[in-house]
């Protein structure tokens, strides 16, 4: 997601579209990216830690973006 203070014209344009549809309650839209990763790890914690590392080093640019790791679910490798 764009950090607080980072201009997000894409989010603004989307908000404009929502307002055109009549959703006048929309105060603000921030546009970001969502990645789904499948990580092979011994435990969920380890997978989360790897995901954090990847998000910091490549998936996000800390100068302009923040990230959250939403959920880590365990799955059998097919």
């Amino acid at each position: 997601m764009p950090k607080a203070g980072v201009n997000d014209p894409e989010g603004e344009a989307i908000r404009g579209g929502l307002l055109s549809l009549g959703y006048e309650s929309v105060q603000r839209v921030r546009a970001g990216k969502h990645y789904r990763l499948r990580v092979l790890a011994p435990a969920a914690d380890a997978a989360r830690s790897t995901a954090e590392d990847m998000a910091t080093r490549l998936l996000s640019n800390p100068v302009i973006q923040t990230f959250v790791i939403e959920s880590v679910t365990q799955a059998e490798e097919a």
């Binding site: 203070g5 980072v6 201009n7 014209p9 894409e10 490549l58 998936l59 640019n61 100068v63």
Partner: protein, 234 residues
């Protein structure tokens, strides 16, 4: 010292041949195309990262290019004081590689801008602005969708204090106005340098303004500055 200029080509670069021609044909200096897989950059006196859409701009503009073998060597080259110039996508690559501060965001208008702009030279201390004068206005083309310069306030203040802002978008007469800042760059920044001044990134394209046939040769002053900096002559 070698006087050969290196132009690194990434998959998706499209300004590499323009950059090569500007140096090789318009300035007449030995120039070499460097493949992004090359790790040996010895023998190069200066390196240019060209414009384009390296790796299809996937993830973020310039984000993947920094992992190329040539970029590892470029980092050592820059650390040793070698002149590096990032043009447009090359500027984006340099910020993603942490060789320059800040980042380039989507243009405020959300539109791709392909047009002529005027930029004012803010410092002549860099490797790439030796041949221009402070306050001089250069007319150069831009062609980008993500060129809005961003850095946090603290970094911007530091850039001002350290004389790291190299170019600002301005009116033809040299006045910096909100109107001239077509892409929404913070403090109208069109180009910055590292603290040492050997690494410069800019959104406008000097290589596309390097022959009278192209409308102006203003860009040559930037490209040839490094040669003077290196004392290799033109």
């Amino acid at each position: 010292m070698s006087s050969q200029i290196g132009v690194i080509t990434f998959p998706g670069s499209n300004g590499d041949q323009d950059s090569f021609d500007a140096f090789a044909l318009n300035l007449g200096v030995p120039t070499r195309m460097v493949d992004y897989r090359e790790a040996d950059l010895s023998g190069l006196a200066a390196i240019v990262l060209p414009g384009g859409f390296s790796y299809g701009d996937h993830l973020r503009c310039g984000a993947i290019a920094r992992f190329a073998p040539a970029m590892e060597s470029l980092k050592s080259f820059a650390d040793a004081g070698g002149p590096v110039l990032g043009l447009c996508n090359g500027f984006q690559v340099l910020t993603e590689a942490h060789l320059l501060p800040g980042a380039l965001l989507r243009n405020e208008s959300l539109r791709f801008h392909c047009r002529w702009v005027d930029i004012r030279v803010e410092t002549t201390r860099t490797a790439w602005t030796h041949e221009v004068t402070h306050g001089e206005v250069l007319k150069l083309p831009v062609a980008h969708g993500e060129g809005a310069y961003f850095a946090d306030e603290e970094t911007l203040d530091k850039l001002e204090a350290n004389d790291q802002i190299v170019f600002r978008y301005c009116e033809p007469g040299g006045t910096v106005t909100p109107d001239a800042n077509f892409n929404g760059s913070l403090r109208s920044i069109a180009g910055v340098c590292n603290e040492r001044g050997n690494v410069v990134g800019m959104m406008p394209h000097p290589e596309r303004a390097s022959d009278p046939m192209l409308g102006t040769t203003d860009g040559l002053k930037i490209l040839s500055s490094a040669l003077e900096y290196l004392n290799v002559g033109v």
